[in-house]
Amino acid sequence: MSLKHDIEFALNGVRKRVAVDVTMTALDMLRDVVGLTGTKYGCGEGECGACTIRVDGQTVNACLMFAVACDGHDIVTIEGLAADPKADALREAFVEHGAVQCGFCTPGMVVQAAHILETNPNADAATIKRGLEGNLCRCTGYKKIVDAVESACCGGR
């Protein structure tokens, strides 16, 4: 049987204590233990980016991270970003540019895009594309996603 482990971390700015199996991924913990289902399972192998979250300011595939590794860290999910006024312009850009179709890739995309803009506020299209390389989308052909991020970057200026 699996071992339980108590962990404590900041989740979207709020302290959180949970007991998790040592084998559990951060993705399963967020979705099944904490109940935040905005972060998606798309592949479980670090290939699609649907599970992108931020850990201490860096983006991470939650499916590749053990839940116990969240202990003591600062975790931000799409739900945290949704409540963050700084991310408003980016989210609205996704909405207005038609960058969202089925929406399954969108939470991961938005988290990754927010990270790109924060680390590189003047990112051009090529930089944005490179930054989104780990986030797969099967609906949009990426054009409107890149346009949206670019507009949030330049429009926000």
Binding site: G35, G98, Q101, F104, R138, C139, G141, K144
Partner: protein, 793 residues
Amino acid sequence: MNRETIVGTSAPRVDVRDKATGQALYAADIDLPGMLYGKVVRCWEHAHARVVRLDLSAAAKSPGVVRVLGPQDVTANRYNSSVLDLMVSEQMHDMLGDIEDQRIFTDHVKFQGDAICGIIAKSEEAAERAAAKVIVEYEPLPVYLTADASKQPDAIRFTPEKPGNLAFQLPEPMFPGHALGGGDVEAAMRDADLVVEDVFYVPKQKQCQMEPHAYIAKLDSTGRLNCWTSSQMPKLVQAKLAKLFGLPMSLVKVTPTVIGGGFGTRLGLISEPQACAMAMSVPGHAVKLLTLREEDWVISPSRHPGKYWMKIGFRKDGTPLACDARFENYKGGYYLDASGTAFTAGAWLGGMYKFPALRYKGESYFTNQGLTGAYRGYGNPQTNFVLEQLIDRACAQMGADPVEWRKQWHKGVGDDGWCPGVTYPSCALDECLDRGAAAIGWSEKRRQYAHQSGTVRRGVGVAVMNHTSGAMPMLLEHTACTVKLNEDATAEILFACSDMGQGSHTALKQIAAETLGFPFDHVQLSSGTSDVAGFDIGAHASRTIYVGGAAVKKACEDVRRQLLERAGRHLQVSPDELDIRDKRIFVKADPARAIEAETITRAGVYHFIDPATGQAGGEPGQIQGYVSFFAPHNSPPFGASFAEVEVDTETGEVRVLELVNAHDIGRAINPAAVEGQLEGGIQQGLGFVLSEEMYYDGNGRILNNSFTDYKMFGPSDMPKITTILVEDPDPVGPFGAKSVGESGLVSPVGAVANAIFNAIGIQFTEAPITPEKVLKGILEQGVRDYGSIGGAH
């Protein structure tokens, strides 16, 4: 000038804010109290085998397990997971024969991933642990991966009803000689000055929708079977589940969940039968069935791969005389929709050019590859890869310009479309070709690239396509729609067809608001659940706007008529003299004479008789509109794609620099959503032609069921994209709209292949055209200047 104010605008999508904040609930996100978890145990070792022993006893004793289910523990009824059987007439049904060849759990494994048994446990982990304890012994059977292998006389039959493992060929009574077309092909070929002919291979491409399949099922205390699913066809799933489990439809309720991409893979059933069988065994408990990505690859149907032979004859002056073709597809282990692609691949062929003689044969053979079924384009990209390359081969040899040749010989208004007798009501393909050519700089670049030197070569190519708007007349085209007016004159529309993310519900709301004369925000549209929504086929065949939109429009016209009649009696004018704008009903000739729609709707609901006078306050009755709509016609869209590529002759790599997609869509109800369809289509079309294929080892086990090993175009791989919406309103479609859902991916396929031909003078007969194939081609044939081929200049 269009007089519409809502149709034709890029109204904000209704569903996207929830999606952008992570609040949209997909099936896997739904959590019900006391939920149990299901796991389907699949055969991963073999693609063809018989189960000789199944021992569930250890699994049953595993901690947390609630039930284990083998083939004996579920209904023995067979089913067909596609929905084809529900969409054809009885007469056609007879021609197809018995096509229900699937079981919930099987003892004859026909593809890797076939379902063997099921586990229900208190947690996902417990179910996984128990699954590992299931003991299955197999007797391996010979594995047939191609039609050539499975059609051998000594091959094991996949089903007794289909000799030679020929799942389907065009049926004789309907298609004499098992062929579609007409005219004397043999004689016409004899008259030809030029004949081009080749055998092609088209790939097994996967939809790769980003949301893995997920279900919840529950048998509730009233004996009703509930299923939450992201199927593209909730109403047909309801009918299928009712039949499979022998329940009246009133005891099956399907709740559609947000769809994380479909592209055809969610047409009909996938694991609904297993999820529901599990739920039936634990009444009162919801059972959640999730799918791992590596499992998703093998259990849901892919595009049909196969061998595609074609021969086309021309006169010296370019006149096409005849086309002869045969597409032999590798169906996979079960029938599903075996008649579908085998037919449509030829239908698009017949719908494209003015061949005086045409003979197309389409056949589906069972194989031990993974299932095949619907995938966006449905036979059309296969035909595009073959037909459009052969046309360009002929153009090069005849010295004809590929754009001009296509303009001269494509079918147009009044010609038979993909089905004889259903003529094209509109066609703006010439404008697509002209505007696309201008956008890519066709003439200059063709001149420039005819003669090149160096190791990196460039080319531009063109391809055209026709598609469909709904499936009339081949398949049932029926949609019911209800529109209810609330007392405050807002409208609520019930329309069962799902929005897979393409924005169809937003566009339908625009159609409704426009028709009613109500503001966009005063109209709501939902697919409801299967118990409240009327009949609808579902989202397939690019039908949602063309057929569904027409249904929504008609139901709204019904409401509008009722409103105008009541307003007319109030204003004492004939309803014909009235119009509605912003919910205000006014006399067209005297707009000051008016009544608010809300005055009518309120009086209709809150209806009282004045006790003093006995006078009624307005007319009683809540207004509802309804239609049970059958599409009267089919107005296919056309498209022209132009690609510019760069081929590195040392590495074999092909880089697509630009892709122009010019599309004759009739009318864009929501231009941004239409662009989104074309752009997304390009990504999948480029994958078909350059990078995407499911590979199997000799035993039929998949080699690349992961996003690392199956290469889709990523953001940096994508070329510069230009979409051109050619709007020439169709006389039949709602507000002039034709379809756009599938067609965007079709002609990029031929355009890229032809651009490669233009760059290095080599045609590739196997898709995807990977760097290995390019290098091999160069090694065998050598790079040739396009300008030096035949009469090309």
